[in-house]
């Protein structure tokens, strides 16, 4: 049975799109059939992070408005045959997204895929609400920083009140994904600790993604970090998070970079 997962946060720039691409690719690597949907109308970037920006012909709004069929708008990943992308429109008005239209698309995708990952835009406006509207579970991406945690708390309130599940009186399962975590700064008391964040948001932890230049390197070349360098610290953290999503019990750790002698000597590598 298909599962609809919304990747959301409230605050912008915390890593929603990066996390959607990384989780989607990691799920597809396990053999699951996955589609990632970009709900950020006007500011789409999931196509860029996935390296499919030149292949976009039709988009989500074209499908909602009946200009194109769903099969025409879906883009198959070139590296993983069971990973698909449904891009957002870059130019159209976000009011073109309708509740009914999105509901029909999600219902159609449920019959074709195992996992449907909805990449939410920042904010609490129409796009963000529609991204979470039909979700079964939510991944709340947050940085260990006050404004990000505050906005995540607001989003949790919306997940509990504005989704179809909430309207039916069902409980929406939520997972916290902490990104850009710096172990050294946290241990010096310069960054909110994991315990602090979890106590404030009162939701279970899905994973801790360490701050790493590998994330930027991967987006530079248009590849989800889990595909670009599977042994890097963030890739391992995302892979563990996916295993938890699939019901496995995986010990929670903060992966650290394994630096070779050459990397240590040269400091960094260019993408």
């Amino acid at each position: 049975m298909a599962k609809v997962l919304v990747v959301t946060s409230g605050k912008g720039g915390v890593g929603k799109t990066t996390s959607t691409a990384a989780l989607g690719a990691a799920l597809a690597q396990t053999g699951e059939k996955v589609v990632v949907i970009d709900f950020d109308v006007g500011l789409r970037n999931l196509d860029l992070v996935m390296g499919a920006e030149r292949r976009v012909v039709f988009d989500l709004i074209n499908v909602v408005q009946g200009v194109a069929k769903l099969s025409q708008a879906l883009i198959r990943d070139k590296r993983l045959e069971n990973l698909w992308l449904l891009p957002a429109s870059q130019t159209r008005d976000k009011d073109a997204l309708t509740d009914e239209g999105v509901g029909n698309i999600i219902a159609d995708l449920r019959t074709k895929f195992d996992w449907i990952l909805c990449d939410s835009p920042a904010g609490v406006e129409r796009g963000a609400l529609l991204a979470m509207r039909y979700a079964d579970e939510a991944v709340i991406v947050t940085n260990p920083e006050v404004s990000s945690v505050r906005d995540s708390d607001r989003i949790i309130g919306m997940l509990d009140s504005k989704t179809v599940k909430a309207e039916r009186g069902e409980r929406m399962e939520k997972h916290i994904l902490i990104t850009r975590y710096d172990l050294a700064r946290a241990s010096r008391g310069e960054m909110l600790s994991i315990d602090d964040i979890l106590e404030i948001l009162a939701a279970p932890l899905l994973g801790i993604i360490p701050e790493s230049q590998e994330v930027l390197l991967a987006s530079n070349v248009g590849s989800p970090v889990t595909l670009n360098n599977a042994v890097s610290a963030p890739a391992r953290a995302y892979t563990d998070a996916v295993r938890r999503l699939m019901g496995e019990t995986v010990t929670m750790t903060v992966p650290v970079e394994r630096k070779g002698l050459m990397n240590r000597l040269l400091g960094r590598r260019a993408a």
Binding site: E145, V146, R150, R188, L192, D195, D196
Partner: protein, 123 residues
């Protein structure tokens, strides 16, 4: 060691400040959103905080990990609660409420009345 480095560098850990600010802010905002769960936050089990207080190096927390408050739950009913010191910010928000309201507090076993509703000092 970290304390020594911080002392030399002249920097203080800002995470506890961030945590305290967030707790107070979110307690307020949740109330505005129709989620007045301040009482829920205060009533959460304190066992986790007991464990944390043992791990925490700050002397104050080691000495007094818990605070005792007297909570007026309705017009007639009151209840004594032991809360973690980390939740004092939330308790402070309830000192000006009608009910549920914090009407007395203490850091030890006895429980003194809140001195003044406006200037209640729960530290």
């Amino acid at each position: 060691m970290m304390k020594l480095i911080r002392l030399i560098g002249g920097r203080t850990a800002s995470a506890p400040v961030a945590r305290e600010r967030l707790q107070i802010l979110l307690a307020h905002e949740r109330g505005l959103r129709g989620r007045p769960d301040l009482l829920g936050v205060l009533s959460q089990p304190v066992s986790r905080d007991r464990t944390r207080s043992l791990l925490d190096n700050r002397r104050q927390r080691q000495r007094h990990p818990l605070a005792r408050i007297q909570l007026r739950k309705s017009r007639s009913a009151t209840k004594a609660l032991e809360i973690a010191r980390s939740r004092i910010g939330v308790a402070r928000l309830l000192t000006n409420a009608t009910w549920p309201a914090v009407v007395a507090w203490s850091s030890s076993d006895d429980c003194r009345p809140v001195r003044s509703r406006r200037t209640a000092d729960v530290r």
